[in-house]
Symmetry: C3
Subunit: 349 residues, 3 copies
């Protein structure tokens, strides 16, 4: 990639501001960019880097207000992240598209495999499994019996998909994620031991879902654990049996959703957050990192924080006071002594 | 499965209450059941669904008190979960039992493999490993040198078992779990670097243990990390080196047990809870989700909650007040002002 | 191993204190040692075991003060952990060193493989990958295209390394860890869906790094996620895209580092701690287990604790008061009533 800033701006429908005649050759984060770099400011928190960067050009939001002169040419666009996404897709070769079947691999004679697929060495395709057109199954992946994988879905190396799981179109499953393992269901017995409750349901993943590395999604006890269209799951997330996650919900790494909970659409859940079982989270809820949600959230589009979580603003206020607890404790003691003295002096009157 | 509710009730020693002549054809969760479904209420929190469900019949506890008429036939049983477990085992075909050795697989010439086992393609059985009768080793699993796997144990696809690990009978190991990786032990050096302390011990898993997907259990420094009979571990749990977990203890997803800690029997640990190293947790302890246990628990059968955890009831009370901290802070300020005024007015007397 | 305590002490430059003529045959933890065991006390918290152990000999710090007579011979050394590490290396055979290429394995014709390597069955070495001398690639590992693995590095069974990742010398990667999976980057669209931001960067791991089982390290959006020399990562850790971790930093299990954060050198991070994105953590910082770090830490060598984390000492004090919140609440109410009474009585004067 070597392109003039003018040409680039036309390509992405951007408005140029700054010196003419520059070229960019590569992408770079703004704090590391040099004078052949195209960079970007998507989050205004990092806007201050504009005043020190040596980048040749920087993508900024259309309404960005410049406070003083800068080195880079500004390219104003409607949506920085989306523009960046389009440019990276266009100019970077993310991963070579592979096709063909490497050997040795194991494909059951009853499996149906679509056109133009890639099946890597040591991949396993079970009985009656169905692999859609243009799907990519990387090496050492396990596609159990009766699993369906939709068109164009990418399954990276070492993904494990238990029997009966259904995966939609254009999904991306990262290495080490496990779909369809048994839900954690046991009946306590009188002698203190547990009897396993067979987990006879399945996992359904709809279209355009991305699932991070080493994330686990358990099969339902009876029906299905469901991940709806457009859901984005980061790494090392736990999704327990019977959970349902609504469309376009995004969940950050190491969060956990307990059994039978229903998460709405367009919910955002922070890293390491935990959600108890058998509750409902309203559409558009935003849940802070490390939060613990112990009750149903019925109001849509609210922010929650803390463990147990409360409304975000209240949580922040309470945490500020929390730091002052030792001081508050002393102030209460001072009050008590003072009052006692007063009380005594009153009694003496 | 299509069976009359009468016949079903006899089979499970249940008492019928409601209209005669109904049939059930499938299991369903109570909130989704239709008039050919058998459903169940194991937890009274969900008892209210009884009054709206269209299920043909519902398993309820023997002593359940009905508050008003319902659509389903009630089948009263001693233990709903255990009955459900038995019925699901009987009527659902959870997973086809497989036998035989798929090719290509790798079985060392010095390994001993029992009768009627399943060994999936791309599974690896190391030198001197011993696989018990009726064991199932799914594809792409790794059974290191000198590992022992007991009779009837199921090892799902992609489990990794380091050399020397011992696994008992009738265990279930889910995909991606790792047993016997090195404990996290290092000697800090003067130059700030770390020198690895070789981890020369092993992992011992006794009988009837279930280990969730992507859970990790490290080998001991010198002797053994031990998981006793009947322990149930959910997904993504960390069990560090030298830990011992007592029989019939159940641990929910993403919890972590630090090195050399000894967990008693029949302990229940909630999701994302963390337990520091070198402590002991008494039998029957119940530890809430996201709790942090920093000290030995000596009293049996107590409930703990919070980070750092305190007695459950106290934690709940303290958390209620926590939310009121900004209000309390104001009330203290009001008190201080009032007292100052009083004090001043007294001085003026 | 059977060695006289005298001979052993000479070997490790230790000073003997206690009866002569003893032999040791094995290592054992101090609480389980018998009279043929060599044991150790590295942490003074466990010093009390010295007075009850039956160990033949115990390694203790040079300056350890004995309070009463003990059974074992004391061997005083400069650094107990380092001495233990050296002895375990010498006397225990941790893992048989393997060499050779097991079949079937998959090695691209364009890959370059060094001398004296081990490549286990079902391992996959992609196009243009470079494997250093004496490296060990265990079964079912995936080395993507263009990956570099340095001399002497050990990659255990089932590790997944995406294309382009660079790994230094003498590293140890435990089973199930994933390097180079896509960072979690999406551009929100007007219809509520997300558009993937291609992750075109890579992961660079320098020398002498150890990475625990099922830990995940995402590739950078544009440049590189970097793990510097001597870093030690425990199991189930999440390292997000664009993160940099400075040399000799140690991170305990289940901790998570969010995107673009820079961790300094010689930092210690406790288990289940979480660190938000786009911040910097100063060299030598110590972060307690389950802590949540939400802001840049600029001061070096400080201890932090809590979620959100504050200075360790203040956090401990605040948590002590937290437990007393219900009591404090009552005391404030008492104060308010008393003051009201006083105020009223004053008004009456």
């Amino acid at each position: 990639m070597k392109i003039s800033v003018d040409e680039l701006a036309k390509l992405i429908n951007g408005t140029i501001e700054g010196p003419e005649g520059r070229f960019v050759e590569k992408f770079a984060p703004i704090e590391e960019a040099d004078d052949s770099s195209l960079s970007f400011v998507a989050n205004m928190k990092y806007g201050h880097y504009l005043y020190t960067t040596q980048a040749a050009a920087v993508l900024v939001p259309r309404d960005f207000v410049l406070e003083k002169p800068v080195h880079p040419v500004l390219i104003r666009v409607d949506d920085v992240r989306t523009t960046l996404s389009a440019l990276l897709e266009k100019f970077s070769q993310v991963e070579n598209r592979k096709t063909g079947v490497e050997q040795p691999s194991y494909i059951s004679s009853t499996a149906r495999v679509g056109k133009d697929v890639y099946i890597g060495a040591f991949a396993y395709i079970g009985d009656n499994a169905v692999i859609g057109d243009n799907a990519m199954i990387y090496p050492q992946s396990y596609i159990g019996d009766d699993v369906r994988v939709g068109d164009g879905t990418i399954i990276y190396a070492g993904v494990k998909i238990y029997s009966g799981t259904e995966i939609g179109k254009s999904c991306i499953l990262h290495s080490g994620c496990v779909l369809g393992s048994d839900g954690f269901g046991f009946a306590p017995q009188e002698d203190g031991s547990y009897r396993k409750i067979p987990q006879t349901g399945k996992v359904i993943v709809q279209d355009h879902v991305e699932i991070g590395a080493n994330t686990t999604i358990d099969r339902a006890t009876i029906k299905a654990t469901i991940i709806e269209n457009g859901v984005k799951l980061d790494n090392l997330i736990q999704v327990a049996h019977n959970v349902e996650i609504g469309k376009n919900t995004a969940i950050a790494a190491q969060a956990g959703i307990s059994g039978s909970t229903k998460i709405g659409s367009n919910v955002a859940i922070g890293g390491q957050a935990g959600i108890v079982g058998h509750i409902t989270i309203a559409d558009g809820s935003q849940i802070g990192a490390q939060s613990g949600i112990s009750k149903t959230i019925s109001e849509k589009d609210q922010k929650w924080f803390g463990s147990p979580a409360i409304e975000y603003k209240n949580a922040v206020k309470a945490q500020i006071i929390f730091k002052k607890l030792p001081e508050l404790y002393n102030r209460i003691q001072v009050l008590e002594k003072a009052l006692k003295k007063l009380d005594v002096s009153q009694d003496n009157e």
